[in-house]
Amino acid sequence: MASTSIQWSEIVADPRFQALHRKKQSFLSGLMIFSVFFYFLLPIGAAYFPALYSIKVWGPINVGILFALSQFVVAWGIAFYYSKRANAEFDAMARELIVDFEKKVKV
């Protein structure tokens, strides 16, 4: 890792890097907190609100089963949402920095 000749502090100070960093950080921490919170609602609800879980909605299907199934849908939704945003936005921002970097360092 020939890092001595590379001015990493310049890259980090680059406004485009700062913008990427800010966007990613708030987006990722928001999603992370939401997903953890939503997941723990399931066992906590099962323990303290069993009557709610037992309410029948559609034939024998009750709130508990729908809530557990919704966990799958939400997990997939978060994954889809994140990858869409990362593919469209974060990758392009990072790409610019990489191109600039490669011009300067001539790899």
């Binding site: 890097f17 992370m32 997941y39 089963i65 799958f72 997939w76 790899v107």
Partner: protein, 637 residues
């Protein structure tokens, strides 16, 4: 060993396959009936043959350490997604969760959710940064900005610890499973699993391991889809109609009545069946559930054999794509498990499943047999054979990934990084990797045989707890927190690991002879009155009562035998493994306590330690982990 000619390799692989197959006829009684055992062996032989061929082809491509550890970084996102699913869905997922659903209904399904949600953490904060700065191992990430020697030592030790716990559970669980399924002796099945796995890893490295995991995951998904279509099609693929039939089944209703005991006295059969779809039949202590959930959600992102998979893809985009695929496959599989579990409860019955294996692990295989036409039919036995062979492939594929992770920590981190300080030739690196593989493989077989009959189920939870309490805080904070340094990493690894292991040693997971004896004596004391009542019923001559009473006496006999066995087992002992009469700590999983303290240890360790290198390297690490600058060079480096 790296100089072996391809012909020698081919001969060795054919030899291993032959040993594996000749080992099979050492049989006792299993779920597969003796008349149809040849079918199981034919399916086994086909799977072993295909994977051996793949290994032979892969062996030609494994020349450097990078080939051996990471398949040269040339795996695609889609391939890696399937391989992650193959690496992650162990026999515990495949057979265990369907079993839990068949025995406890809703709680079993709820249990599966955490195993999928775990991948959100992997996707959002771990996979891409690790791809951008990592090389072969978890310790590579820690060594990037911290003192390489110290962090490699703690990182490698923790990798070996986590992998060994997981490995022991897989070897023992796998041995028992193969024995239950087809009746092969426990020792022979452990050795067969070990030898096959060694052949894959030793000759084919990560290339063969990846393909074995992909093949296994594809087989697993195909088997599950076929079973679910057969279970669900009669109901026109309507979920309410299917569940209505499950809750209306007398076998299911009897199971719920048995679980609830006295509390079920005034419930109608319909209410009993419906109760199967409500929480609380398995999990009584919510705090345990939350603690286990934390270990799953944060531990998966710290599992070395899962992290290692992200070094096999060329870019962060491929790492992202592989997690998305893995989540689709793993989540889809757990949804299918819902049908397998409830289908087995309806068609086979909870009691019949538990009679073959008390843990419920045989729910899936027995359902397959039923759907094919039952125990005496050719198709039924073919389907059972297929599911049994998939279970076997599952164990081998997971074990291969674990052995590769432990061997890389031993060879790449400890030998090459710490002992030789990086001064090794490429040939020496590959040789070290192969020698370490043989050591870990031999260790896995030895532990597997030595731990025969031990209750190892909690070891998987312990592996997750250590990964969540030690590995996860260290990796996360070195990637995202500027002030993190060598002091924090060493403190976090040591505190996280010791706390997780220590708390389990004093937890209710251990065997407490006094409690075991007390419970067994209670069962025996209650035996007399219950037996007398049942005998009175038989004497009465009322047909309905007689049938019921005979069942009761059968159950009493089994309970009494078990209680006597328990008393015999703890004879002369008064304290647990660490000398306790009763648990000091109430939680079965330590995550709730050990994860926050693991984070605290990294934070305090970092604040009380001066480390110029960690500070100087921060900008480089942070720029690279966010953008992927130089990532392809790191992979080729």
């Amino acid at each position: 060993m790296s100089s072996l000619s391809s012909r020698t390799k081919a001969f060795t692989l054919v030899g291993v396959a032959a040993i594996a197959l000749t080992a099979l006829p050492a049989l006792a009684q299993g779920a597969v009936s003796p008349n149809y055992r040849w079918l199981t062996f034919a399916v086994f032989a086909a799977i072993i043959g295909v994977t051996m061929y793949v290994t032979f082809v892969a062996a030609k491509r494994v020349k450097t350490a990078s080939d051996f550890y990471t398949a040269g970084g040339g795996v695609s996102g889609l391939q890696n997604g399937w391989a992650i699913a193959g690496d992650y869905l162990s026999a515990a997922s495949f057979l265990g969760i369907a079993g839990l659903i068949s025995q406890f209904g809703y709680d079993g399904f709820m249990y599966s959710v955490g195993w999928l949600v775990a991948y959100i953490t992997v996707l959002l904060v771990i996979a891409e940064p690790c791809r951008n700065i990592g090389k072969y191992t978890l310790a590579d990430i820690l060594a990037y900005r911290n003192d390489p020697k110290k962090t490699r030592i703690v990182g490698a030790l923790s990798t070996i610890t986590v992998s060994t716990f997981y490995l022991t559970a897989q070897m023992v669980g796998g041995g028992v499973l193969v024995k239950t399924l087809i009746g092969i002796d426990y020792e022979i099945s452990v050795i067969t699993v070990g030898v096959l796995m060694l052949a894959y890893v030793l000759f084919g490295g990560m290339v063969a391991t990846t393909w074995v995991q992909i093949i296994k995951a594809v087989l697993l998904v195909i088997a599950s889809i076929v079973l679910v279509v057969l279970v669900w099609a009669p109901y026109g693929f309507s979920l309410p109609a299917f569940l209505q039939d499950v809750v209306g089944d007398p076998k299911v209703q009897a199971r719920v009545a048995g679980l609830l005991g006295e509390a079920s006295k005034n419930m109608t059969p319909q209410e009993l069946g419906q109760r199967f779809l409500e929480p609380g039949l398995l999990f009584k202590a919510p705090i345990d559930q939350i603690s286990l959930g934390m270990a799953l959600v944060f531990g998966t992102a710290g599992l070395p054999h899962i992290l290692m998979r992200f070094f096999t893809v060329p870019t962060a985009q491929d790492a992202r794509k592989s997690v998305i695929w893995a989540m689709a496959i793993i989540g889809g599989f757990y949804v299918l498990t819902l049908f397998l579990g409830f289908g087995a409860a309806k068609h086979v019955g909870p009691a019949a499943i538990a009679a073959v294996d008390p843990g419920g692990n045989m729910a899936g295989p027995l359902l397959a047999q039923y759907l094919g036409g039952g125990a005496d039919s050719m198709l039924g036995n073919f389907m059972l054979a297929f599911v049994a062979a998939v279970a076997f492939a599952t164990i081998v594929a997971v074990v291969a990934g674990l052995v590769l992770a432990a061997a890389s920590a031993m060879a790449h981190d400890l030998y090459v990084g710490v002992i030789r300080e990086g001064h090794v030739t490429p040939q020496e690196q590959v040789r070290a990797a192969r020698i370490a593989t043989v050591i870990v493989g031999a260790m896995a077989i030895t532990i597997g045989i030595a731990a025969k009959g031990q209750n190892v189920a909690h070891l998987v939870a312990l592996a997750f707890a250590v990964a969540a309490s030690a590995n996860f805080p260290c990796v996360l904070l070195t990637l995202y927190w500027r002030k993190c340094n060598t002091g924090g990493i060493v403190a976090g690894m040591v505190v996280g690991t010791l706390l997780a292991v220590g708390l389990v040693l004093v937890s209710p997971n251990m065997t407490y002879p006094k409690a075991v004896r007390g419970a067994a004596e209670k069962v025996l004391a209650a035996d007399g009155p219950k037996r007398a009542a049942a005998e009175a019923d038989i004497a009465s001559g009322d047909a309905a009562k007689v049938a019921n009473a005979q069942k009761t006496i059968g159950a009493l006999d089994r309970a009494a035998t078990k209680a006597k066995g328990d008393i015999e087992r703890v004879k002369g002992e008064n304290t647990s493994l660490v000398g306790l009469e009763a648990p000091l700590f109430g939680l079965r999983n330590p995550g709730l306590i050990s994860i926050p303290l693991g984070f605290l240890a990294v934070i305090l360790g970092s604040l009380f330690y001066r480390d110029k290198r960690a500070d100087d390297m921060w900008e480089e690490l942070y720029a690279r982990q966010n953008t992927g600058i130089l990532a392809s060079r790191a992979a080729a480096h």
